[in-house]
Every structure is written in C-alpha cells, then in structure tokens.
C-alpha cells in the first residue's frame, strides 16, 4: 500500500499546554486507521490537525505528498464525521447530503440528485431525501453524516468518536457496518476513539496515544499481544504484572519471575536493549488457567489461593494469590460444561505459559 498521509514532527501548543509532542506518523492508502487513547491524550487534536481545523505549532502534514500547511479545511481532500454529527437542522436530509456539492464546479448540477440517491443508498437510507433532519434518530443522523461526507469522494474520511453517542447494541451494529463500508469504497478511514475494543475490532492499524505522544503504533494483534509499555498494556485489555529478574540475555532471555520461577523466552518478547537486572513481566488473564481436578498444565504450573470470584455468565474472573507475588493475579476462565465455580479461599493449581509473557 502507498503512503497517503505523512506527519513529520508535528507539535501543537495551546498557550503553555503541549497538546501534541513531536508526532511522526504515516497512514497508508485504503487502510482503517485508529487513534486510540484516554481523553485529553491529543487524539482529537491530531484528527483536527489532519482536517485543517487546527494549525500546527511545528512540523508538517502531507497528504498525497502535498504540504497542507497553507491549505484550509475546505480545500483539503478530507471529510469528517463529527462527534455530534453536526447535521444542519434547517435543511432536509437530502439538502444535508448535497451540501458539499455546491462548491464542486466539476460536478454538474444535473448529477446532484443521482449522487445524493447513491450516497443515501450506500448508508442504507434509500428514499430519505425529503425527511426533516432534526427528526432523525441517532443512528440515522450518523448515516446522514456519513453520506454527506462520502458523496464528495474524499481520499480520507475522518471519524471523531462517531459511535460514542449510540447505545451499546447500535454501536456494535454500526461497527460492523463501518468496516463493510470501508472495505466497499476502499478509501482511508481515520477513526478517533477512546474505546479499545472498538479500535481492536475495526482497525487495520492503531496508534495508541498518551499525553500528546504516540505510545505504540501496530496492528491490533501485535498491540494486544506485544504491548511495548506498561501503559499500553494497561490501556488495552487487562494485564497482570509480576516483578522479575533478567538473569541472562545470550541466545534466549532467562527470567526469574516472582512466584513462577525461572524460564526462558525468545528475544521477540523482550524490549530492545534489555539488560540484566530487575524487570516486570506482563501476562494476560486469559493466558493463565485454573487447573481443575485431573487437568494438567501444558507448560508450567504453580499453586494459588482464590481471593475473589466475579461471575460473568459466560466467564468467571478469579483473583488469586500466589506466594511471593505482591498483587493478586486475575485469571479469566470460560464456564465450560461441568466446570465448577471455585469459592473464595479455595486452594488451587494454576497453569501458565512462558510464550504469553511480555517483558517490560
């Protein structure tokens, strides 16, 4: 895939507040890209910088190889779906969708109606042209916003937390629809979200942002399985942390993990430049297992005491204490047929696998 958007050393100040710190980023043609992070991390600012609503304090934004510094938002090949959707309440659905065509001299007026029809069809709102826009439901407004942006055939569609205003069911439905839509029209989507699950489900690649910086940029699986820092690991999913010692780095890396003992992991699981000395290891709840009677661990096992049980229906989450580990470890277990739910205080064996370990 070719590069579409390149950000080089982008800085943004609001007075003394440093909103974006040296952002370097390349977004490719046709990919579904997400900016993920907690509120205030700068993800929306970054999106607005790409759209042109915010100028930069330093660095450059290039779209299709062209420097965008002096290009106002109305001249950029980007279109946006706003968090509030910003559907013009004084215009009908059709007029909203056709809004951007007014300034497009290259499109003949006679084509407008057909284009509106096509755009509404794309988002599943056939025949809504003459509806009053303020009478639409949240999900419908979002579709109007999408149609209004897509009718202009932008190179990039920017989506600012587009699903946050919808209820859970509608949100999940729209996630799937957005993915389908993106595959169908094949243009680049850039999504801003604070919902890690949403980002994992929808994206080809995700940039996780903290305090104006990109913490990690990877595809969803790498991001989940190999987070490069504790804060990324904590923000995406849940992770247990255990103190450990790195005792050898020749060939494989040798680790002495509190409560778990000594094991060896390949270099890919360890950050570059790791040295002998104290470290932390992370391990996801679903990669640990409670060993019920008659079960044996595939790799290693150790003993633990059940500290807390949270029953979720399909899953049970156990907090267990392991000797020499300061914090309780969380284990996620599927409630398979015949598998009992343990009580607080029960002694149990737990199984673990060194391939699931991440070293920080």
């Amino acid at each position: 895939m070719t590069d579409l958007i390149t950000l080089r050393g982008v800085q943004k100040y609001y007075g003394d507040y440093h909103a974006l710190r040296d952002i370097n980023l390349t977004i490719r043609e046709g990919e579904f890209f997400s900016l993920l992070g907690p509120s205030g991390c700068g993800k929306t600012t970054l999106l607005r910088v790409i759209a042109g609503f915010e100028g930069v304090s330093g660095g450059t934004v290039m779209i299709s190889g062209r420097d965008m510094s002096d290009v106002p938002p109305n001249k950029r090949p980007t279109n946006m779906v706003f968090q509030s959707y910003a559907i013009f309440p004084h215009l009908t659905v059709g007029q909203n969708v056709a809004f951007g065509l007014r300034t497009r001299r290259d499109i003949a007026k006679s084509q407008h109606a057909a284009l509106v029809k096509e755009a509404l069809h794309l988002v599943g709102l056939d025949g809504y042209e003459n509806r009053a826009s303020h009478a639409m439901s949240g999900g419908q407004r979002q579709r109007v916003a999408l149609a209004r942006a897509l009718i202009l055939k932008p190179k990039v569609l920017l989506l600012d937390e587009p699903l946050s205003a919808l209820d859970k069911k509608m949100r999940e439905h729209m996630q799937v629809e957005l993915i389908r839509l993106q595959r169908h029209i094949g243009i680049t989507f850039i999504l801003v979200t604070h919902d890690q699950e949403e980002a994992l489900v929808m994206s080809d690649r995700i940039a996780v942002m903290f305090a104006g910086e990109i913490g990690q940029l990877d595809d969803p699986e790498t991001l989940y399985r190999r987070p490069n820092s504790r804060r990324v690991a904590e923000f995406i999913g849940k992770m247990n942390f255990l103190p450990a010692q790195v005792t050898g780095i020749d060939g494989a890396v040798t680790l002495d993990i509190a409560g778990f003992g000594v094991t060896q992991v390949p270099h890919v699981q360890v950050p570059e430049g790791a040295v002998i000395g104290p470290a932390a290891v992370g391990i996801r709840p679903e990669t640990l297992a409670i060993l019920f009677e008659g079960e044996t661990a595939s790799r290693h096992e150790t003993t633990a005491t059940v500290d807390e049980v949270v029953y979720y229906g399909d899953m049970t989450y156990y907090d267990v204490r392991v000797k020499d580990v300061p914090e309780p470890l969380t284990i996620a277990m599927k409630n398979l047929i015949g598998r009992p739910v343990l009580e607080v205080g029960a002694q149990t064996r737990i199984g673990w696998d060194e391939r699931a370990i991440v070293v920080f």
Partner: protein, 266 residues
C-alpha cells in the same frame, strides 16, 4: 400556597398601572381620576388629527429602526466573538461593552451631550439619539444573541467548512439561518427599548422631538392627558405584540439550534 397568593398580589402590583390605561383612554372626561363618567372614543380620534404627534412618532420610528439594525450588528459581532476562542482580556472587553446595562442613563446622556455639543460643537439631531441608543441597546442584543450562539453546535460551521465552503459562506449558509430567530428577536427588543427611551433622548434631541419627549411635554397640560392615555393604550398593545413576536422567534431560535429553552430575555 401563601407564596402563590403573594405572587398573584405582586403581579397585580406589576400590572396595576397598565390596566388603568384603557380605562381612562375610553373614559369620557378630561380629568384622569375616579369616578368614571362614560364611554368615548373621542381621544383616539384626536390622536389621528395631531400632526405634531405624528411627526414625533415618525421620528421615533426612524430612530428605533436604525437603532435596531446597528445594535444588532454590533451584538452579532460580540456574540460571535463570544462563541469563538478566548484570548487575554476578552472578559474585560465584553464587560466594558455590557457596561451601559448598569450605567445610570443620565451619565450616558450628559457625557455624550458634553462631547457632542461642547467639545465637537455639533448640533443635535436624530443621529445623536441613534448613537446613544445603539450604545445602550447593544448589551441587550448581545445577551439575546449570546443565547442563540450558545445553543449552536460549533461543529455545524466546521462541518460546512469541511464540506468545501469558505468561512464566509459557511457563516451565511449555516450559522446565519440558525441564529436568524435570535437576530429578529434582538432587533425587536432594541426597537422597543429605543422607542420608549426618554432620559437620554431628552438630552440629545434636536429640533424634532421623539415620541417620549413629546409625551413628556404633554404631561404638563391636564387637558391633553386623555389623549396620552389613548396613545399609551396603543403603545402597550403594540409593545405586547412586538414582544410576543420577539419571544416566539427567540424560542424558535433556541429550538432550531437544537438547544433546550432556559427562558427569559436576560
């Protein structure tokens, strides 16, 4: 319950003077006092024949119309700036523009008089009153238009920009229609204030009196009082009409911009 009784008594206190207006306007007697002496429409007929009054009314209408337009333009500038980015000193500047709201009107009147007459040596006329009225009406316009702009989603204009419109056309196509009810409401309020304003007009009026200045002159002649009552009745009816229209537009504006109504002109 006793609170309700009190509030009703208060409303009676508020409306008492106005309620008397039509009573004496249709009373067939030259003395404005009880007992009443009979029904007549004579005072309304006299109104239609008073050329000096007609001139004063025309004057006031011109002044009020100009004031409404200029105050609303200034109010639009301030309210739009208010909805945009903050900068150092913005609060202070806005406070200063709103100052005439609490400044005693006589201070505005005499200070303008001093500058116009004594310092600049200009002669007074309708335009001097318009200038002063714009000054005191602008804060009201700002208050009304602030409400209209506050109810407006800032993403609306950005969406228009994003869809290819220039800054000006985004304002014209999206913001302006959405705040239009606020603009109408602001013009009507400014018009009403200017039409009724006496304290400043009395100082700054030139050869042609405004309607309140003319009424002030009549108040000294007992024989002309019934005619004033008739005029007052018409003015009250007109004011209520204008205010009702203003209120309807203000509400429509808040609704159209998608906000919820918090009520009130201030």
């Amino acid at each position: 319950m006793s609170l309700r009784v009190y509030v009703i008594a208060y409303l009676i206190f508020l409306y008492a003077p106005i309620a008397l207006l039509p009573v004496f306007a249709f009373n067939d007697g030259t003395i404005i006092a009880f007992p009443l002496s009979g029904f007549t429409t004579q005072w309304f007929t006299e109104l239609t024949q008073n050329a000096a009054l007609h001139a004063a009314v025309r004057n006031s209408l011109v002044i009020a119309a100009c004031t409404a337009v200029f105050a609303t333009i200034l109010g639009l500038c301030a309210a739009r700036a208010g909805a945009m980015s903050d900068f150092r000193g913005k609060k202070g500047i806005t406070g200063f523009i709103m100052l005439p709201l609490v400044l005693p009107e006589i201070i505005v009147a005499v200070s303008l008089l001093v500058v116009l007459r004594q310092v600049l040596g200009l002669s007074l006329g309708n335009w001097t009153i318009i200038m002063a009225h714009v000054l005191i009406c602008t804060p009201f316009s700002i208050a009304i238009l602030n409400g209209a702009f506050a109810a407006l989603d800032p993403a609306m204009e950005e969406a228009a920009l994003d869809l290819g419109e220039s800054r000006w056309s985004a304002f014209r196509l999206v913001t302006l229609p959405l705040v239009m009810p606020g603009i109408v409401s602001s013009m009507l309020i400014a018009f009403t204030i200017s039409l009724d304003e006496f304290i400043i007009a009395f100082f700054l009026t030139g050869a042609n009196p405004t309607m309140p200045v003319y009424i002030w002159g009549l108040l000294r002649f007992p024989s002309s009082l019934p005619v004033i009552m008739a005029l007052g009745t018409i003015l009250v009816a007109l004011s209520i009409l204008l205010l009702t229209i203003a209120e309807i537009f203000r509400r429509r504006g808040v609704r159209r911009a998608g906000g919820t109504d918090t009520g009130g002109f201030l």
